[in-house]
Symmetry: C2
Subunit: 274 residues, 2 copies
């Protein structure tokens, strides 16, 4: 089985390293300087010029570049081609806009870091993490089965199936909104001279504030309705809290905090059951 | 030096344990069942009925109970008495409303957990953390020096001095707002069935959502202006993001995300310097 990874950044690089750990030799494509480095470090076995001749291809590029690759690159007939973008509806529409020789599977690994690039990739990034695999009427069952075996070898703890619409709605909440909030949180003028005034709460709240604005502004635009929906829901809850605080209504505030606490306990229980 | 800790929950219990680790025997007061347990586990050496006769007393109680204790308990003349509440202006006003026989120092450890109680306390809770000590014209320098030595023995990494107003403004941002946001974040209806759709971002954002509503509604009311100010600042930034998203203005969104990223990089730099 010939495996190619297109894009050797944090995700693509970590996939190459975790596959190497599992005993696979994979090839990789990226800009020349990245390819040279990946070759020198033994992350990839070869740096081809074309995607042809590969049985499995992982497209680990930002959405626009991924869609361009899926639309234009000459993959081999029957090749299993998976993208790893953080939005799935837009990519799926692009792929299925016309018949393809390859077998497409939309994927999204639930793992990341607040830093990017091959230099931050590591073979343990996916250990125990969840991989989302998108089901679509045109998805080939054998292609999914093959990928699932590879994901397990990479160290993923589980594979979660859903439609692209389900994916985009959930991710707008669990990931996209979190990045908006963290990015907005650090903007307070009170942040200056914060050293010594913080424990874990502030660190957690601001860890992912430093988003790559090029990548994320695209991700938001490609999943705009869902992201907006979640932002509005959060704003509504924050405005409830604001009203209780502003009017000095301690009972109302207590009830709102209690609602959140019970909700959190429910989510923790759900996590334990699954 | 006789040391008493009033309140053997997460903070008081951890203080007792970290002092025990450093070779001190401390006494403790709490409800009967907690005292029995703390004695049985060797966390405290004795469980007295009165705070009299102690050189150093840590009041590790929620704000209202702490203010009541500081106002009414018969501390020995000259005793160093420190509270550990998350708001400092209100407690300070209570203490200095009349002359006291004891030497008061307002303190606030920058360490905690999302769970409470003696059963969750541990001797390493404060290791490397910051302890905030409030300066006030009436604070006794020798009392502060004595406490600082004890804090270092407990494992704290540094002591940060400020006024109660500075404390309350900073904490409204680094801690109180974080808990409001986390508590509101979990309320989205999209949270149901979230398992498999989350990486570290969602976990970080929601870790502290389950606040004890009794304790925190009081904390917010006692620091209402500062908390409201920070909530309004965050809301303004979120509404900027919302406007860019709603109008599909990708350039504006990119600029907003960039502003947050640069801000985050500045804060990270500040953290490294201090």
């Amino acid at each position: 089985m010939n495996i190619l990874i297109i894009g050797l950044g944090l995700i693509g690089g970590s996939m190459a390293k975790s596959l190497r750990r599992a005993g696979y030799a994979v090839d990789g494509m990226d800009r020349a300087n990245v390819q040279v480095r990946a070759l020198a470090e033994g992350v990839i076995a070869a740096a081809p010029q074309s995607a042809e001749g590969y049985d499995v291809v992982f497209v680990a590029l930002p959405p626009d570049a991924a869609m361009r690759a899926l639309d234009e690159m000459p993959f081999s007939a029957g090749a299993v081609v998976a993208d790893l973008c953080g939005v799935k509806g837009a990519v799926e529409r692009c792929v299925y806009a016309k018949p393809r020789r390859y077998r497409y599977v939309g994927c999204h690994p639930m793992a990341g870091k607040e830093v990017s690039g091959l230099e931050n990739s590591c073979e343990t990034l996916f250990d125990g993490a969840s991989m989302i695999v998108v089901d679509h009427p045109q998805t080939d069952a054998a292609a999914i089965a093959l990928l699932e075996r590879l994901f397990m070898r990479m160290g993923f703890g589980c594979v979660r199936h859903c439609t692209s619409a389900e994916h985009d709605a959930k991710i707008a909440y669990t990931s996209q909104l979190a990045h908006i909030v963290s990015n907005a949180y650090v903007k307070s003028r009170t942040a200056e001279g914060f050293s010594g005034f913080t424990g874990g709460s502030f660190q957690d709240m601001t860890r992912i504030a430093g988003v790559d604005e090029e990548v994320w502004s695209r991700l938001y635009m490609l999943n705009r309705d869902a992201a907006l929906h979640e932002l509005d829901e959060l704003l509504a809850h924050l405005l409830d809290t604001r009203a209780a605080l502003a009017s000095g209504d301690e009972d109302a505030l207590r009830a709102l905090l209690r609602e959140g606490r019970l909700r959190k306990e429910l989510l923790d229980k759900e996590r334990k059951i699954v």
